[in-house]
Amino acid sequence: VRLFRDALRDLTPILLVIAFFQGVVLRQPFPDLERVLGGLVLVVVGMALFVKGLESGLFPLGESMAHAFARKGSLAALLAFAFCLGFGTTVAEPALIAVAGEAARIARDGGAIGAEQAGGYALRLRLTVAASVGVALVLGVLRILKGWSLPGLIVGGYVLVLALTSFAPRTIIGVAYDSGGVTTSTITVPLVTALGVGLASVIRGRSPLLDGFGLIAFASLTPILFVLIFGIVSLGGR
């Protein structure tokens, strides 16, 4: 019941805004209303089940493993786990599936890629982002272990982003910047935060608050870099 309420809480404000604009500003009937309403019911039920499943299955398992690895695993195992965790969670991220599909559709309609390539394009885009989140976690874990400064790395990362932006095909830039925000939603954040906080609380001299959270900041930076590179490789440079 609580989960349905949470899913509704995410959705209601948006629906209210849309309803307001439909009713007051536009004053015209919404096209295909029945189908949209049916779809909304699916969205709410789906979100509730999804989050319920995450909370009862994935999160406890992921968290206990993150703690176990942080405590005793060898460095290689820890890094491998961090990469796989980032990769696996990102591939299943609903918001990323949505945006990658939309990006592929637009690229096809705009003629940047062939019609038969659209499905593969979306998948490759998602795998690229997933790999980038994996790399972000490896970097983030190394940072926590070595105590590198977070702002320095972030600023360096964005300088790289800006440099790559000038080479990348213009059609990929928007998608690349967006994918940075997309990866940090439902699944990835709780698991990744658990890993970071677990690590920081085990290693002496690290504060969970300062060091633990930096992982997410990396996870929203590297997708931009990787997708820009993906664009240069698959669509050609400017």
Partner: protein, 260 residues
């Protein structure tokens, strides 16, 4: 446009979803068994959880296709329609799209209202500043980010300018903001992008770019989510810096004469 039946759509989506969830399931299992060498505790609960994730993700994705994408695109189409603009689309300048900005801002604002982590940040800032600052400013910032994204699509200004400017501000702010707030601030970039908001905002952007003359969805459709992520970071840090400054001034006044 003929459409496959709901059942068939669901079946196809379920198959695709199974593939999506497989990697993380494998990762957790393999590492648990091989590297840690333990059987996972309460296996049955975990399996039930995975089934829930599968079914939930499937339903969500089908609903997304049927509801959230069409919603965003239909709103974009209707808000940029000549009837509402009052002028021919070709003659419209950026000032004529007022309702588009209002709608985008309202979407951003309404998402921010419901977001628990934003509320937590706001409470913390309120505490530091001794009650001088309230949570409203933060929400307005998220709303501004989304609205600015639509403005960019309407005017066609290249996205990198916005991002470059934004991150320069972030870098400068990072040097002055209280240290404890920095990780929180970077994290809050993700809060404005809940799983429900992202598809609606993405569809809105693509829809706008395809309706407004002279814009191509390929070049201008994306980027709104990026801006919606950037602004909360700026807002939270600016907010915390201001809160700290106000709090210090407050404290100075309270302890006048005492040297500290």
């Amino acid at each position: 446009m003929s459409e496959p039946s709901l059942l068939r759509t669901l079946r196809d989506a379920a198959a695709a979803t199974a593939l999506d969830v497989l990697p993380i399931a494998l990762v957790l299992m393999v590492f648990q068994l091989l590297v840690l060498g333990q059987r996972p505790p309460n296996l049955r609960r975990i399996l039930a959880g995975f089934v829930c994730v599968l079914v939930g993700l499937t339903l969500f994705l089908v609903g997304l296709e049927r509801a959230l994408f069409p919603l965003g695109q239909a709103m974009a189409r209707q808000l940029a329609a000549p009837r509402l603009l009052g002028v021919a689309p070709e003659a419209a300048t950026w000032q004529d799209y007022g309702w588009v900005y209002a709608f985008a801002g309202a979407i951003g604002f309404s998402t921010a209202i419901a977001e628990p982590s934003l509320i937590a940040v706001a409470l913390k800032a309120q505490e530091i500043s001794g009650g001088a600052l309230r949570a409203l400013g933060l929400r307005v910032a998220v709303a501004l980010g989304v609205a600015l994204g639509t403005l960019r699509i309407v005017t066609g200004t290249p996205l990198p300018y916005f991002i470059l400017g934004g991150y320069l501000v972030v870098v400068v702010q990072t040097m002055y903001a209280p240290r404890a707030i920095i990780p929180l601030a970077y994290d809050s970039g993700g809060v404005s992008t809940s799983t429900v908001t992202v598809p609606v905002v993405a569809a809105l952007g693509v829809g706008l770019a395809s309706v407004i003359p002279g814009r191509s969805p390929l070049l201008d459709g994306f980027g709104m989510i990026a801006l919606a992520c950037l602004f909360p970071i700026i807002a939270v840090m600016g907010y915390a810096t201001l809160a700290e400054w106000l709090g210090r001034r407050h404290a100075d006044k309270g302890s006048k004469g005492e040297s500290r």
